[in-house]
Amino acid sequence: MRVFKTYFKILKNGALVAIIINLAIAVLIATIFMSIPEENNKSFKKEKPTITIFNNDDSEFTDKFLDYVEKNTKQFKIENNTNAKQKALFYRDTSCIVTIPEGFGDAFVSKNPINLKLEKFPDATNGNIADIIINNYLSTYNMYQQSTNLSMDEIIKKIDADLSNSTKVVLENNSVRSHMSGKSIFYNYSCFIIMTILIVSIGTVSFSFRSKDIKRRINCSTMSLSNYNMQIGLGHFVVSLGMFFVVLTLGIVMFDVNIATTAGMLHILNMFIFVLVALNLAYLLSSVVTRKSLDAVANVVVLGSCFLGGSFVPQEFLGDGVKATAVVNPVYWFVKANNTVASVTDYSFSNIKDYYLCLGIELLFSLAFLTITLVISKVKRTEN
């Protein structure tokens, strides 16, 4: 198994540093994804907008008003200066900055309301929800005030009762999973790590074995071509398997991936199939490009397919033109399979048949890449 041993010597000397760097970057990015929580609720959870309140008024009405607002929103504290406000709004740390002027409460109760100053972007959804919450309370108070003779305390009691009315929410499958959680994002992002590292490793080794002098010496040797190819193929497979286990370990350690659950097993199966796709893609790229251009081509292919396939941005946000490229993009089907599993809780065949369809398409991509590579190798061998 001399060729097999040499394979790993070349990998160690030629690609180890690049593999380590790529893994380090993967861990860094995975750390960012860890902050996004897993969702698996049995009930609807209302998203509360994050707002910042600067209160310059000291009245009972304002205190009651703020109790309601704080119960229905999340608060983010910042310094009261222009720079801090602009920074918080731009990075969406807060969706809305409310400034309550002095005398607001007394003016409102005496039917001469002063408007609240709201700093938010006109088209931002979170900011608009905060606006609705604020105006809901104030307009309800105003309606009671204009149409009845109730005192402030009585009106506030009525408002508390009215605003506790809530529409009944039913979940489609009796529970909710989201494919936007940190764990799901990690599964989708894992294709980037797998493709990058496999292309670097397999490319480095393939180019070393494919140099003219080495090839001629091997052809003259006593080792049969089939034995030689078998050892190279085994080396590729072992590297791919190693890569698969490294990514899986990353998932288990950092994202608590549970291989004992059905969802976990389905995700892992999808990842394994994709490793085969990436292996054959790496083999194809190393057959068609030169050594010097491998890095460049690999980066373009990997980043292009990951961006356009929905690995970095959720697929539902991609434009129709981008989705049209899915026909030639195996990452799209890998991500779609992951999203199908992540958004359901019932894993019966009929409920996730899209998942199996995506696996089938990935296997076809794998076969297509392998076929093209073999044809190109045959043509090159015949030409030589």
Partner: protein
């Protein structure tokens, strides 16, 4: 000697295909991919993107449907239960509103902001109904002209303090991080340039060490040539994003070009410093710089825009020491902030860092001799 070296170095930079790819074409390809994936996202952060199906099979919700459509916020369709279920499964609607015996029920598939918006509006309708009912109970015979007027008009007790014209697209963080990555990649090129001055790194370095030309002249010419190449690549990228992709990253003014070009100088100085300070082969130094650049850009929001704000909130000093954050903050300052304070602070730090690293590299290279190569 300076201009001769400068001329041939510039020619060499522009003739090396790899160099041109990484400096010019790769950032443009990445910008195109960013535009294809992120270009649509800002428009989706609006209420226009929310579609709802309404099912009213016993026709008891006529009044509700009219009130809901009067809100004029969602794209709603009245349809049958089976069609509504199919539309939700295919992702064509965010939620289904079921009306049975005048009771309203909301069906959703997952938790999210769109679902929250629909629930908020439905709650508002039901709460207003409860308020009006209570007012009629408290004051059944009173004059309702005022109440009807208040119901008819959209009451608002808030005033918008920002206005519509402000640039506010948070996804520009990705583009600014990309520009920062392009600028930082200048450090990778300068590693090879400084290797041409070191006798123990390259054959050219060995020749240059025994040549009668001043090392500072050769070094300066090399840096100037790298500056020209990188400034050209960065300018092309800015023009491409602004005028070809037509994505708003602010005006390409003198201030923007100034911070980019000074950042390129700092980046080249960083590459030179790593090249002269670290012992070992070029590949190792290149790998170290690659790791620094990618980590720096990752923290500045290249992989996840929200990461930048989140990390800087937890560790504020990062904004002052991370090169990519310094560059992208300077660009964001011109794009969005009213005050130029952040811009000038970042500009000063980048310039200072560039000068310090350049002078340190000169000190280390100065009188460097080799006993045997």
């Amino acid at each position: 000697m300076f201009f001769r070296t400068f001329k041939y170095k510039v020619m060499r930079n522009f003739k090396q295909k790899q160099n041109i790819f990484w400096t010019l074409f790769f950032p443009i390809i990445l910008a195109t991919l960013f535009y294809a994936t992120f270009g649509n996202l800002q428009k989706l952060d609006t209420l226009d993107g929310v579609k709802v199906a309404i099912v009213d099979e016993d026709n008891s919700g006529e009044h509700f449907i009219k009130t809901f459509k009067d809100v004029n916020v969602f794209d709603s369709t009245v349809t049958s239960q089976s069609k509504a279920d199919t539309m939700m499964k295919d992702g064509k609607v965010t939620a289904i509103i079921n009306i049975k015996n005048s009771e309203v029920e909301l069906t959703i598939k997952e938790n999210g902001m769109s679902e929250t918006i629909v629930k908020t509006i439905l709650d508002k309708i039901s709460q207003t109904t409860s308020t009006v009912t209570n007012i009629y109970k408290i004051n059944p015979t009173g004059d309702k002209t005022n109440l009807n007027k208040l119901l008819g008009e959209q009451q608002s007790f808030t005033e918008d303090d920002i206005g519509e014209s402000k640039n506010n697209d948070p996804y520009t963080i990705f583009f600014f991080a990309l520009i920062a990555m392009t600028i930082l990649s200048a450090s990778m090129t300068s590693i090879y340039s400084v290797a041409d001055i070191q006798g123990n790194q390259t054959v050219i370095g060995a020749r240059q060490n025994i040549a009668p030309a001043s090392k500072l002249t050769l070094f300066g010419a090399s840096i100037a040539a790298d500056m020209v190449t990188q400034c050209f690549g960065t300018t092309m990228l800015l023009l491409y994003i602004k005028y070809i992709l037509n994505y708003n990253i602010g005006n390409i003014s003198g201030w923007l070009l100034l911070i980019c070009y000074l950042a390129i100088f700092a980046s080249i100085s960083l590459g030179n410093f790593v090249g002269v300070a670290c012992k070992g082969k070029i590949m190792v130094k290149s790998a170290i710089l690659n790791a620094i650049c990618l980590t720096s850009c990752g923290v500045a929001g290249l992989f996840a825009a929200q990461a930048k704000g989140a990390i800087e909130n937890k560790i504020p000093v990062i904004a002052y020491i991370n090169p990519a954050s310094l560059i992208s903050d300077g660009l964001i300052s011109l794009y969005y902030f009213d005050s130029m304070q952040m811009y000038f602070t970042r500009l000063a730090i980048l310039t200072g860092a560039g000068i310090v690293l350049f002078l340190t590299s000169c000190l280390i290279l100065r009188r460097q001799k080799y006993e045997s190569i």
